[in-house]
Amino acid sequence: MNEPIRIKSAIESPLGLLAELTHVCPLGCPYCSNPLELDARASELDTAAWLRIFSQAAELGVLQVHLSGGEPAARRDLTEIVAHCARLSLYTNLITSGIGLSEAGVARLSEARLDHVQLSIQDCEEESADRIAGYKGAFAKKLQVARWVVATGIPLTINAVIHRANVQRATGMVQMAIELGARRVEIAHTQYYGWGLKNRAQLMPSREEADAAWSEVEALRAKVEGKIVVDHVAPDYHARTPKPCMGGWGRRTLNISPTGKALPCHAAESVPGLEFWNAREHSLAEIWEKSPAFNAFRGTEWMREPCRSCEWREVDFGGCRCQALALLGDARATDPACHLSPRHAMMADIARRDSAPLGAAAYAYRRMEKMR
């Protein structure tokens, strides 16, 4: 065992569904990968629509659902959704900031048989953490939530996004996760999509800082084995090889946006010309097999050189489409994070420029427009 599942044909069933239940979130993290145009509450799917989507997902072969956002606890029907998924025997993963959860609320989620909680932290130092989140008291609240979760016995993952303001304390955040009783910790260097891309010049650490953080966490990983699992996401702009796009576009997972749009990935809406279908109008099975957006970059047929003839094409699938688009203006190009891309040098150039010392510039906090 421990063999990751291998998918034979291109259109085999998805393993995971990421449900962005809402874009509402009390925090304003400047690295958020949500789109700049957030969906308003009034346009969200209602409870019945979500329950139908999860039923269809189970039928399609989805094994794990990730309840995300925004802040999923901002939905009043969260417990109902979890209970429904549990009845379908779907594995439920709640991805939360913790804000908006009460002790009684956590107990209700536990009774509804929630399988796993992933709680974000912004830093291991209170003042810095609250400043990054743009929310006074967020840090203290998160500590409370972590304790409530651990007390119920639901396994806890702590998730920390690494950037300029906390890059010196990456190992501190692993230690904090251990102290909180987490079984798993994700140390993820910022991926620059949505708000993160907008704030890139505020977030980018220097190459030296990123490298130091990387090796410190790697050194700690071995020491804490058996205590906590460390999942480490590399800094893209300093990498030689691209990240495999979600294990392949339209291959393992799908996202449903708060309004029901089915996306191959959270950033896919940034790619112009893609036609997305809505789960209000189509079944998930139909969307997965037939919708133009899912078929656009499926497999390797769409590739150009150097990807097309590259031996890695079935491993990383040419890297990230959304990044190729954001940086090169061409979603079909090789992800510039790859050292084989003719434009690879631009990554280091951007990183160098954007990690320059800051003047008076401040974060553009993730906020919703009042009226849309």
Binding site: M1, E3, D115, H116, Q118, I154, P155, T157
Partner: protein
């Protein structure tokens, strides 16, 4: 338990909450579901993990498997220990 330590024969291995076996109808076979992980479990792994419910000791578990599989007890014990140690290191099993 930390890495490298021998698991005691008296330990009572248990799949913690949030780690569970599931029959995978769409693709066939059984999978072990855990936080951000989906791993295939072959028939032997399933036989072992189904017995990791916190009631049996490791010794008892090996004894039961020897009856079912009629194999060499030493080998079976080694297989069981290897699987359990691996999962414990990944925090997918409590001892």
């Amino acid at each position: 338990m930390s890495a490298g330590e021998e698991i005691s024969g008296e330990a009572r291995p248990r799949l913690p909450r949030g780690v569970r076996l599931k029959f995978d109808e769409a693709r066939g076979g059984t999978v072990l579901l855990a936080p951000e992980r989906v791993v295939r479990a072959d028939a032997v792994a399933v036989a072992i993990l189904e017995r990791c419910d916190g009631t049996r000791t490791l010794n008892k578990l090996v004894e039961e498997l020897c009856e079912v599989y009629k194999g060499d007890a030493k080998r079976i014990e080694a297989d069981v220990r290897a699987l359990l140690a691996d999962l414990a290191a990944k925090r997918m099993l409590d001892l």
